[in-house]
């Protein structure tokens, strides 16, 4: 329907208006028509894609549990100065909240949330909540009598912090940081610093896979782009066929090949290279092999398209001017292939960074990346704050890498 706009403007219904304004109107109608055609997809993506991702970033810092389950306590403790134990009114509010929350079965969520902040808090909450409806004034004494930890100021500080609607807890934790009792940001003890490793490992594996793909893919693309025989098409087909085959099928294939009784072990034993079968699966080696297999086409395709536009004559010209073949290649050919190279490297790196399936299936526990951390927290543990923080970290790492590639290497990106 909006396609009609362009033609109406051409037919010129008002002869008295000047050509200039007619042109302007036609242009405006064209813009409206374009927007109208783009609008359905744009709206769809904003709702299904952009909004949920913005929500993730929000969930990574949001902390609604305590405020929802213990509303009076959250209100009473808001203005507490944190120097001495809170006043009787706050204890009373907590006792009432716990009694009600226990009845309504909402305290457990708040307990879990508080436990992220200080271990043992969940049992403290549950233990107190069970008897909260029997408590009498003075509530302060009654609660400390039930569990003396209510007389320790640090638990109240953690409670106050967790009751705020926003928390830096998950973001800090995923970076192996935490807030100490005074609220200052410090590193967690070394034996508990386990999450930042996932980020560094993701970056390291992605960088290694990208470099390996560059080393393997460059000669392939060069051959396919410049051979005069029909072999070029065959090589291209060999690169593209795996690209279209399901990632799971390819991963299954590598699992068959690399397993203990697999073909590679059989072959190595057959030629007498090894006596015992090697453990080739569930380690970094398998992750690299399977990831390169999946990602190589993403490097070869842009590189091939780039190389096809580089005239081989340039190499001959350099040679006739006295350059050695290597020098001619390095100074004349290679710089011209950089746009394709950086576009391919960008694709491989970005895709590798968010990889999940392959490392999860062929890697060991020490080969998992940030995506694994997200699924672990979301699907296994059910700590959605941490899942959101890990996903946010991965998103930021991806966007920063994308920007670095585009700005520093001039990579063309996806379009």
């Amino acid at each position: 329907m909006s396609i009609t706009a362009e033609f109406e403007s051409d037919s010129g219904r008002a002869p008295e208006v000047s050509l200039k304004s007619k042109l302007r109107r036609a242009e405006r109608q064209r813009q409206l028509k374009g927007l109208g055609l783009v609008a359905p997809l744009l709206t769809f993506l904003l709702v299904i894609f952009v909004l949920p991702i913005v929500a993730i970033l929000f969930f990574a810092v949001s902390s609604p549990e305590v405020g929802e389950a213990l509303p009076r306590t959250a209100e009473a403790i808001k203005s507490w100065d944190g120097k001495d134990l809170p006043d009787e009114a706050t204890y009373r509010a907590l006792a009432e909240d716990l009694a009600e929350g226990y009845e309504a079965k909402t305290v457990a969520g708040a307990g879990t949330r508080l436990n992220y902040q200080a271990s043992g808090f969940r049992s403290l909450i549950m233990r107190t909540a069970r008897k909260a409806d029997e408590m009498q004034a003075p509530f302060k004494a009654a609660m400390i009598d039930r569990d003396e930890r209510w007389g320790e100021i640090q638990y109240w500080r953690e409670l106050q912090r967790a009751a705020r609607p926003l928390t830096p807890l998950y973001v800090l934790q995923v970076l192996d940081l935490k807030q100490d009792e005074t609220g200052a940001i410090v590193s967690v003890p070394e034996n508990r610093a386990i999450y930042l490793d996932y980020l560094t490992r993701s970056l390291w594996i992605s960088a290694s896979v990208t470099v390996l793909c560059l080393l393997i893919g460059y000669p392939i693309a060069y051959f396919a782009a410049h051979t005069t025989s029909n072999w070029g098409y065959l090589v291209l087909g060999a690169v593209l066929l795996p690209f279209w085959i399901s990632v799971l099928v390819r991963t299954a294939a590598w699992m068959v090949v690399l397993q203990r009784e697999g073909m590679l072990n059989d072959l190595l034993i057959g030629i007498g290279l090894i006596g015992e079968p090697l453990q080739l699966l569930f380690n970094r080696f398998a992750v690299y092999i399977a990831m390169i297999h999946v990602l190589l086409p993403f490097l070869v395709m842009p590189l091939y398209n780039n190389m096809r536009t580089i005239p081989q004559l340039h190499l001959k010209a350099a040679g006739s001017l006295g350059a050695t073949p290597f020098w001619a290649f390095w100074t004349v050919y290679f710089p011209q292939s950089l746009p394709g190279l950086s576009a391919g490297a960008l694709l491989v790196f970005i895709l590798a960074l968010g990889y999940y399936i392959t490392p999860a299936l062929v890697g060991g526990p020490g080969d998992q990346m940030l995506s694994f951390l997200v699924t672990q927290f979301a699907l296994e543990i059910g700590n959605w704050g941490m899942a959101a923080a890990a996903a946010g970290l991965l998103l930021v790492a991806t966007l920063v890498s994308y920007a670095v590639f585009r700005l520093c290497l001039g990579a063309r990106g996806f379009m």
Partner: protein, 274 residues
């Protein structure tokens, strides 16, 4: 002269090395895919050579209604619906982006292609939160919508590329000869960009048909897709029925590739080899 002949000798060695390297890499790419096909016909239950004998038992296992066929139908249904949606929305958007340069066009393109850049796990988690709120968790509608978002960028990119080779004068010529805009689109524009649309649709189809991670988050057992089932199987224990299913999928993919190649040749013919 002497210098020149050593140079060619060097070049010859380089060329041989290059060919050897390319050959080895192609072997690396193709070998595992081909190697698993024979094993799917094994009469034993181990995935190793030598095979004890020939049998079709694993294909029989894979053609049972549960779980394989059911998940296959789920996958096909979701992929076809997502493809239709993604192709329609994507083609409209690509056409809109071609005919006018409205303000904010760059930002719109960035949003449209962002599903290609954002890690799939982030999409899956976000969609999970969102679907949990609006009650689309564990529904076909939810999975179809998520897959549509993942497939649409491919359609936009391929159709945009095709439209760049499309001569907009043809539209003017057609309307100057009296054709209504819809008739022009149906009889002139569409047939010429149809191969591009079809390529985009195939990308969208494969994207959905091969998608695991979103399915892992938002599908309940009733919507388990084939890749979701294979993922669970591979995690659990590698058994020959997965290899049999893999072989069927390799055949299916090869078929799709042949169709694509035919489409590409058709485009080249229509566009005059442009």
């Amino acid at each position: 002269m002497a210098n020149n002949s050593t140079r060619t000798a060097q070049e010859r060695i380089a060329s041989v090395l290059l060919k050897a390297f390319v050959g080895m890499t192609c072997f690396f790419l193709i070998f595992p895919i081909l190697a698993i096909i024979p094993i799917s016909f094994s009469s034993g239950s181990f995935l190793s050579y030598p095979m004890p004998g020939f049998s079709l038992q694993w294909y029989e296992a894979v053609l049972q209604p549960f779980p394989w066929l059911e998940t296959l139908w789920n996958s096909l249904f979701i992929a076809i619906c997502a493809t239709v949606l993604a192709t329609t929305l994507g083609t409209l958007a690509a056409y809109g982006l071609t005919v006018s340069r409205f303000p904010g066009r760059g930002l719109v393109i960035a949003i449209i292609i962002s599903p290609l850049i954002v890690p799939i796990i982030v999409v899956a988690l976000g969609v999970y939160f969102f679907f949990a709120r609006v009650g689309l968790l564990g529904t076909f509608t939810g999975l179809i919508m998520a897959h549509t978002a993942l497939g649409a960028p491919f359609v936009v990119i391929t159709v945009l590329a095709t439209l760049q080779g499309f001569d907009m004068q043809l539209v003017r010529a057609s309307s100057s000869l009296g054709a209504k805009p819809m008739a022009t689109f149906r009889q002139v524009t569409f047939p010429l960009i149809a191969p591009g649309i079809a390529t985009g649709a195939l990308f969208a189809f494969i994207t959905s048909f091969d998608e695991v991670v979103v399915a892992l988050f938002v599908a309940s057992p009733a919507q388990f897709t084939l890749p979701r089932q294979m993922f669970a199987g591979l995690r659990d224990q590698l058994d020959p029925s997965i290899v049999a299913m893999s072989t069927l999928l390799i055949l299916f993919t090869s078929l799709i590739l042949i169709v694509m190649e035919l489409l590409r040749r058709r485009t080249q013919r229509i566009m005059g080899g442009r």
